[in-house]
Amino acid sequence: MARQVTTRRKLGMTAVGWIVALLIFFPILWTVLTSFKTEGTAIATPPQFLFFDWTLENYFEVQSRSNYFRHMMNSIVISVGSTLIGLIIAIPAAWAMAFSPTKRTKDILMWMLSTKMLPAVGVLVPIYLVFRDWGLLDTRTGLVIVLTMVNLPIIVWMLYTYFREIPGEILEAARMDGATLANEIVYVLTPMAIPGIASTLLLNIILAWNEAFWTLNLTASKAAPLTAFIASYSSPEGLFWAKLSAASTLAIAPILIMGWFSQRQLVRGLTFGAVK
């Protein structure tokens, strides 16, 4: 009896769960489906869901217009590069803040976060001038620098919250045993912090991948990532729904696949110290 109720309940939950999940996912699903339609069927009423002539022509068209793979490579280099450099800078900082907090630690942390609130467009011209003088315009180096800076506060803060949850006694014990600072970090702290670091890494790759202001305004062609690729489709003439869908699918596919494969790692650490 009881068992039957739970099964029935589980079936009910399954229905509700899937309906909600599909609703949330629907815009993406719809985009992917549309990318395989011809421009004509893309805007047909009533809309065609599955039974239409599937075509790849939009993908060929998109590829013939711009070199997708180069944009993708740029996106990968920029997002991964900036995240790695950010981690290298942030790990010591977060470690120090978590284990030797001073009165001002909180203030520094909050100040770092507040730098993120500066509206990028207001400082575009100053940054553009600096970049021009240093020859960083349209280079991946330049973008890596900018995105490292942009995401550094979040990285520091995320790491800080993980590190704080590592019990201090373990470190004390290690220190008693005569571990040096370096040993402490490498052998004690790092293994415990790996989940946190991993999810920080993943989250920041996502954020850097989707960053669309600096990547668009500081590049021209050589270093332009996928955000620039999509900017050339935002209003071509005439019927463009299918082509737009194909370009959109291409732009989000790599990060979506990465995200799905690594979602366990992402979720495990994505707590910002919220779990207590």
Binding site: G40, L137, P236
Partner: protein, 436 residues
């Protein structure tokens, strides 16, 4: 990976210092159909010039404008060729940001360029950008619906006729709307149309002393008639419709009439894209009997920024892309109807083009009917038909466009919109020191 990034950075620094080998031209262009076609056909140019490589940056119009303006004003030097419009050319040329195009080659035939277009791109007789395609605006209408309504579109209609026709063609139950016009806020969107329309109503942006004129009766009449047309006979969601949205509506048979850029003519008559390709007629933009028509003038043109180190190669490409030879190339590969229009007299004298493009004559007449140096009924201190060629204009016109778009969406009344427009224009003019 890090090393590679550093190396790449170093390389680009070297490239900036001018130690590059084979010349690579970076071309910034807008994602219009004609430009994308140019990109596809550019192989013909690089075949002939193997020492020149082309790097394309294709962007949506607004983003393109931001990018190239920031770059040229800060002398960033990221582009060797920029696609710009008739609005930018006079302002930029005055700052010496553009190189005069004096080296286009012997067979370029500058005198073949349409005088109205050439005039808009020259200062003191020197050409600062070469027109890639030129456009005006005109009425595009559905011949079948017009017939059904029992009307006959004259070649030069009046606004009153347009209203009558819109009323008779509208059939909302079947999703046919009598008239589609731009409603999306933006200086290149609804304001291009409305400013051109206001010219035919005898309105103007400024009087000779740079005082804004939105409080005039002529502007009131313009906006009221526009709102009246759109609210009664326009499609739903008109306040977010720009050129592209309307094009899609017209191509899918949902508009009876559409007053917009002449370049749209080749898209609506192209059977691959348009469901109404064989039922489209053309007429001049309407007037009000005051001597000016509601049509604009625009030319997407290729300019060479003064900061480039590859001026010679850049001019070579500009000359190629705007030459008669390029027109022939497009005609050969894609048919005469797809040739970029509105730049050369010889194209309109070509019988093959006249035959393939039913809209040719009307396009030429429309372009000829626009006069950027003398755009309005009453005299004005500015140049430009659907724009005012001053640096403040883009932001100002967009703000005004937002007001008119709000009026169309029914959120403010026409009077309120005009009053706000008047206030914010006056504020901006005072700040710019135009009104002393």
């Amino acid at each position: 990976m890090k090393l590679k990034t550093i190396m790449l950075g170093a390389c680009s620094v070297l490239a900036l210092a001018g130690i590059a080998g084979a010349e690579t031209l970076t071309i910034a262009t807008v994602n219009n159909g004609d430009m994308i076609r140019m990109q596809k056909l550019a192989g013909a140019f690089t075949e002939k010039n193997p020492d020149i490589e082309l790097e394309w940056v294709t962007l949506e119009e607004n983003i393109l404008r931001q990018r190239v303006t920031t770059d040229i004003a800060t002398k960033g030097g990221q582009y060797d060729i920029m696609t710009i419009g008739t609005y930018e050319v006079p302002i930029w040329a005055k700052q010496n940001w553009l190189l005069p195009l004096d080296n286009l080659g012997a067979d370029y035939d500058v005198d073949d360029l349409l005088p109205a277009i050439r005039g808009g791109l020259s200062i003191d007789g020197k050409l600062y950008a070469a027109p890639f395609y030129g456009e005006s605006s005109m009425v595009m209408y559905r011949t079948d619906l017009m017939e059904k309504a029992g009307l006959d579109m004259p070649d030069a209609p009046t606004w009153d006729f347009i209203k009558e026709a819109a009323a008779k063609m509208t059939d909302k139950d079947n999703e046919v709307y009598g008239i589609c016009l731009r409603g999306k806020a933006g200086w290149g969107e609804n304001m291009a149309f409305l400013t051109a329309m206001s010219n035919s109503y005898g309105a103007r942006w400024f009087d000779e002393k740079w005082m804004p004129q939105f409080d005039s009766d002529a502007w009131k009449a313009t906006l009221n008639d526009y709102l009246d047309l759109m609210n009664n006979y326009g499609p739903p969601g008109a306040s977010s419709n720009g050129f592209n949205e309307n094009l899609a509506l017209f191509q899918t048979g949902k508009c009876g009439m559409w007053i917009d850029a002449t370049v749209a003519a080749s898209f609506v008559t192209n059977p691959d894209e348009s469901q109404v390709a064989d039922k489209v007629g053309f007429a001049l933009a309407p007037d009000k009997g005051l001597g000016k028509r509601g049509n604009w003038l625009w030319a997407w043109s290729l300019g060479v920024p003064a900061g480039t180190q590859k001026a010679e190669a850049a001019q070579k490409f500009v000359a190629w892309a705007t030459s008669k030879e390029y027109l022939d190339l497009v005609a050969e590969k894609e048919g005469w109807a797809n040739v970029p229009p509105g730049t050369r007299t010889s194209l309109y004298e070509n019988p093959k083009y006249q035959e393939a493009a039913p809209f040719a004559e009307m396009t030429l007449e429309s372009i000829k009917a626009a006069d950027p140096n003398n755009p309005t009924v009453d005299p004005v201190p500015y140049v430009g038909v659907q724009f005012v060629a001053i640096p403040e204009f883009q932001g100002l016109d967009t703000a005004v466009g937002q007001q008119f778009s709000a009026a169309l969406a029914g959120q403010v009344t026409a009077e309120q919109a005009l009053m706000t427009a008047q206030q914010l224009t006056e504020r901006e003019m005072r700040r710019g020191g135009y009104i002393k």
